[in-house]
């Protein structure tokens, strides 16, 4: 993987405004630095209120840091003139699929972004069709959004971001309100975009199983990055994760439990596949 930086977050501190004029609440982000590389799949973990969503707002120029700098593809988010150029590069998919679909017809909604950018009608048509095909929702292009399932709505929202030809997508807990089926659909779509189109993906999530599949995992706590690295390294720090109110992947948990019972499975276990192969190896060894 090349190490070109897509989003650079440098020593950022950010606090929301209090109820009184000019007053600030205690900072949500504290002296946080993070480089997000082009084409990578980064998962951000953290309990509620750890500043994950605030980080999103800083990355697409919806908010400016109190101190420190955020650069998107070299553009300073504090520069108001670049606001829309930045949002064209960094698309956002939110948690509630119902609250981010604007139009009454699927394809109209996907067209919303490019229409705002002033793209030519024929080009919008082309982008909308290709984005809908990408997420597998082309057959539903004339449907009304409220008749789709949660997973389908979320894929429409992703298509809406794709049609703007963004280089980076930030997904803020996109699967939190979905059933397992919808969750699988959305995760598969996100991974395809990352692999096949080279789109940088930042996935904010509560699900350890989703984070395990990422290239890198960042764990946030109290407005700071607690751990950062490949999933295997991060999930090796089990106690740190548990202390900051997070969980560890189910397979890893099961392996730990077995270890307590004296059954030592070999290797690092993060995914169900890891577990199965490790357990096989263990049984072979016993024989």
């Amino acid at each position: 993987m090349n190490k070109e930086i897509m989003i650079q977050i440098q020593n950022v501190t950010y606090a929301y405004e209090g109820d009184e004029e000019g007053s600030k609440l205690s900072p949500v982000l504290q002296n946080l630095s993070l480089d997000i590389y082009r084409g990578e799949f980064l998962a951000i973990l953290g309990h509620n209120g750890s500043g994950k969503s605030t980080l999103t707002r800083l990355c697409n120029a919806m908010a400016q840091p109190d101190s420190g700098k955020v650069y998107v593809d070299g553009m300073d988010t504090a520069d108001e003139k670049l606001e829309y150029d930045i949002r064209e590069k960094v698309g956002v998919v939110m948690q509630n699929p119902d609250n981010q679909i604007v139009a009454t017809i699927v394809e109209e909604d996907v067209a919303f972004g490019p229409e705002n950018l002033g793209v030519e009608p024929s080009e919008i048509r082309r982008r909308v069709d290709s984005a809908l095909r990408r997420v597998g929702m082309y057959e539903y292009r004339n449907h009304e959004p409220h008749k789709l399932s949660g997973g389908q709505k979320q894929r429409v929202a992703i298509a809406g971001v794709l049609a703007m030809q963004t280089e980076c997508i930030i997904l803020d807990e996109p699967t939190a309100m979905l059933d397992p089926q919808g969750r699988r659909e959305v995760m598969q779509t996100i991974h395809e975009l990352n692999r096949e189109m080279g789109i940088t993906v930042v996935l904010i999530t509560h699900f350890m199983e989703e984070a395990v599949q990422a290239d890198r995992v960042a764990v946030m706590d109290e407005g700071q990055i607690l751990l950062l690295g490949p999933p295997r390294e991060v999930f090796a720090h089990r106690q740190v994760l548990l202390d900051s109110g997070l969980d560890i992947p189910q397979s890893a948990k099961l392996a730990d439990r077995l270890q307590q019972l004296g059954i030592c499975l070999p290797g690092d276990i993060l995914t169900p596949d890891d577990f199965v192969s490790s357990f096989r190896a263990y049984r072979e060894g016993k024989r």
Binding site: M62, V102, T104, I105, E120, E144, H146, K147
Partner: protein
């Protein structure tokens, strides 16, 4: 079941009426309403009636559906025709009882007005039956573009309409959820007199409002994330272009207007 509601009363189809440009449809329906009011005798009214029926046939909207549209205004039709019958004293007397009399003039007037109202309903409901709400708002936005000169933003109006249409089903679903949640907490929504039941709605309306504000905030954020900045510099995916069908429709309506005027001149006015 509540998820299956269709917005407006749109019936998808591919008839010539469906294919008309929404802008043309809006303009033509407006023109037709005026033409219907121009009719002064039964001959011009007959022409318009035949035209309306042909339009309905062309649109392939089942007559049953059209009749259902009439149901809601049956009362209005009845009231106006009864008033006409009793207040019009022209022509020969058909029936009399003390001071109340029914005359031929009254009866023909009642028929005239009934037919006219039915034509009005047919023509205007064809607009909503054959045009999707999206196209309709789009058409309105483009038709109202000249208003920009007097600082009224047609884009803002159209966007508001679109969002309202988009969220009607979402909010209906939400009301369902809230009602179920309040019932689970022991709320009694069905019994009691009117005032009591109205009061029982408060615990449903408050969460609905609070949630709507949160939704509005989320939606505004999502729209800004997708570079929304009002109508300036915005392009549209759908290109609206007048085609042969539109010009044909304009020609037919012009002929219709001419026909109505000629028939009005040639024959005696009833109204």
């Amino acid at each position: 079941m509540i998820k299956d509601i269709t917005l407006g009363q749109y019936f998808p189809g591919n008839s010539p009426i469906h294919r008309l440009d929404p802008r043309s449809k809006l303009v033509l329906v407006f023109a037709l309403l005026i033409i219907i009011f121009l009719c002064q005798n039964f001959f011009s009214l007959a022409l318009i009636t035949v035209f309306s029926v042909v339009c309905v046939l062309l649109s392939r909207i089942p007559f049953k559906t059209m009749m259902k549209g009439l149901k809601t205004i049956v009362f209005v039709i009845l009231l106006t025709s009864i008033l006409q019958i009793f207040y019009n004293h022209e022509g020969t007397i058909l029936w009399q009882w003390h001071k109340i009399q029914i005359t031929t003039g009254g009866v023909s007037m009642a028929i005239f007005i009934t037919v006219r109202i039915i034509c009005l309903i047919f023509v205007s409901s064809l607009l909503t039956y054959t045009t999707s709400p999206t196209l309709l708002t789009d058409g309105i936005e483009r038709l109202l573009k000249p208003l920009k000169k007097i600082h009224i933003e047609p884009h803002t109006l159209a966007m508001m309409m679109t969002i309202a249409l988009r969220f009607i089903p979402t909010l209906i679903e939400e009301v369902d959820h809230i009602m179920a949640a309040q019932k689970a907490r022991g709320a009694d929504l069905e019994s009691g007199n009117l005032i009591k039941r109205a009061k029982a709605l408060i615990p449903i309306l408050i969460p609905l409002f609070v949630n709507s504000f949160r939704r509005a905030y989320d939606l505004a954020y999502a729209m800004e994330c997708r570079c929304y900045r009002g109508g300036d510099g915005r392009t549209r995916m759908r290109i609206m272009k007048l085609s042969g069908v539109d010009f044909a429709a304009y020609a037919v309506c012009a002929l219709l207007l001419a026909g109505v005027i000629v028939l009005n001149i040639c024959f005696e006015a009833v109204i």
